[in-house]
Symmetry: C2
Subunit: 341 residues, 2 copies
């Protein structure tokens, strides 16, 4: 009536316990004949290894811990969703499992981030889009635990990271808007991440290089959750203080969608009066009215690479990682030439 164990299988086909274990782990020391016999027995008996026991004995939990920031209902966020989907799929291919954790205040205060590793709950930790305030991650600089930042980095820390190329994004956005003729562009930036700050700064320099004046490139913070609400509020401030803006560049698509709503509520039209563009290319971007021009970030692929890298780091087949993925401009309907004045 009980679940069969490795012992039952061993007894059943007259080999030792270790033999069964070796078969389970595809060890070449076992001959094909024996292997086949054992596998057959396993199948017949409906044997399945107990994951806890394997993890205990092998010192590998075959689990990645994915840590996301403490935002409202973060799992409902497409940005994280895409990355997490990528991680999940790659995990499966490696027969790994994925555990999700949220970096809430308790998580940080109680130093859960190190507890997870110390209690052997995971082989490696992936931090998705942490913020500039996550100074506590510095602990991982010289920790023995495998660790990877996903779509973020810290300028002065020696931490593994993998992310998309935010500076290239910024250049593409600048080229596009400047190319259309815009010279006064408002920026809605997320400033709670280094990537967000890089994006803002790179955008400003790229515009200046192409002939804009710095004072015609005002920026406002979009709030720390990069949400539509934040974009709405930021756009209201921008348009209030600079009614002559002809374009708004938002740090992500949701900020852009919020901004579009604001423009709409002021009785203006996108893109006739104000052009708006975002970043990420979330699925929703194609279904706004008008459809959103944006920079496509390969977030799903980023997740896959991240999972791959994490496993390699754990196995010590990789010592460090500092990787940057390319991005791409997607032109839709929300950007156009500035209105004639």
């Amino acid at each position: 009536m009980k679940r069969p164990t490795i012992c039952d299988v061993a007894r059943e086909c007259g080999v030792s316990l270790s033999t069964v274990s070796l078969v389970l782990n595809n060890n070449p020391r076992i001959s094909e004949a024996t292997r086949a016999r054992v596998l057959e027995a396993m199948d017949r008996m409906g044997y399945l290894p107990n994951v806890q026991a394997r993890a205990l004995a092998s010192r590998s939990s075959r689990t990645l811990s994915v840590v996301v920031p403490h935002l409202n209902h973060v799992f409902a966020d497409v940005y994280f969703g895409e990355i997490v989907s990528g991680i999940y799929d790659r995990c499966l291919e490696h027969h790994y499992r994925m555990m999700l954790d949220i970096a809430n205040p308790r998580f940080v205060r109680q130093r859960e981030y190190v507890n997870i590793m110390r209690s052997r709950r995971a082989d490696c930790m992936l931090f998705i889009a942490s913020s500039v305030n996550d100074e506590y991650l510095r602990e991982f600089e010289d920790s023995p635990f495998p660790f990877l930042l996903v779509n973020h980095y810290f300028p002065n820390m020696n931490l593994n990271y993998i992310m998309v190329d935010y500076r290239q994004s910024a250049r593409l956005a600048a080229e596009h808007l400047i190319g259309l003729g815009h010279r006064k562009i408002g920026i809605i930036a997320g400033t709670n991440t280094y990537t967000g700050r890089d994006y803002r700064d790179a955008f400003i320099s790229a515009c200046c290089v192409r002939g804009c004046r710095r004072e015609d490139l005002p920026w406002v913070d979009g709030g720390k959750d990069w949400s539509q609400e934040g974009g709405f509020r930021a756009a209201r401030i921008l348009l209030g203080e600079h009614p002559d803006l002809t374009a708004i560049m938002a740090g992500n698509d949701r900020l852009a969608i919020g901004a579009m709503r604001c423009v709409h509520e002021r009785g203006l039209h996108v893109p006739q009066d104000v052009s708006i563009m975002g970043v990420d290319d979330i699925p929703q971007a194609a279904y706004t009215t008008p459809a959103l021009t944006t920079i496509r970030h390969p977030l799903y692929e980023l997740g896959r690479r991240a999972a791959e890298t994490a496993i390699l780091l754990f196995r010590e087949e990789l010592q460090s990682c500092n990787e940057v993925l390319p991005v791409q401009l997607v032109v839709r309907e929300s950007t156009g030439t500035p209105p004639a004045r």
Copy 2:
């Protein structure tokens, strides 16, 4: 240099290994004095129990397995996101972990759903919004493993479930549209779930009860992923075949958003020409143009209850579960009186 184990702690404060374990598990057999001494030592030494070892010995993984359908990038779906957030939060409060799995073809073919339980990877499985085709779940009818359907049910199976009240949703939607004066209403239904079918059928009867003719309530399937694209296509069909519709009721908000885009592309206005409403009240619903009228489903709360229930089922403190949560109408801008003809 190594992580301390329960043995090290025992040696350190001169008690037996079992004593430390009992302290760890808050067993009242240990006196306050000893308990304090042990806890102090643990703290000082930075002891943390090895989760694998505990799970092996105690036969509880303290893990819930959450299974979501195999949709494109499902983690990026707000509907699932909300439910999963609720589950996660409640798990944490119970010191449980949450594992995510996707019910893809491999998952079903290889009967992973039973393997997860048999390999002791999880204490209980939660299936979120499975579809009418998931006949394989019937296996759980008389399985010894704790199991819970979240926001779905099967009419002829004896399975535990917890979900929102789709029939009440349908009645509220019907009352609202009929109350505004609509008599010809197109329906975009998700028909790959029993809850979706219930919703459609309950809506039709509620309308008929209030004086509509059945032939004025055409319905079209919105596609199995309940996406904006599906809503767009369905709306095109509906409006093509029934140009005199004055309202469209969609089975969820994303279908509704797709339908809105279709109406817009035909040069019509919402709600002046066509009223549109959705279901769920995802955050985005407040930020469409015009803002979407919808039925609020308490998905986050549903997730919390589901996690709670799952743990009780595992502990056998609960034998079964058939729970239904109430819903609420949210009126915004996308519905209004029908155009005068």
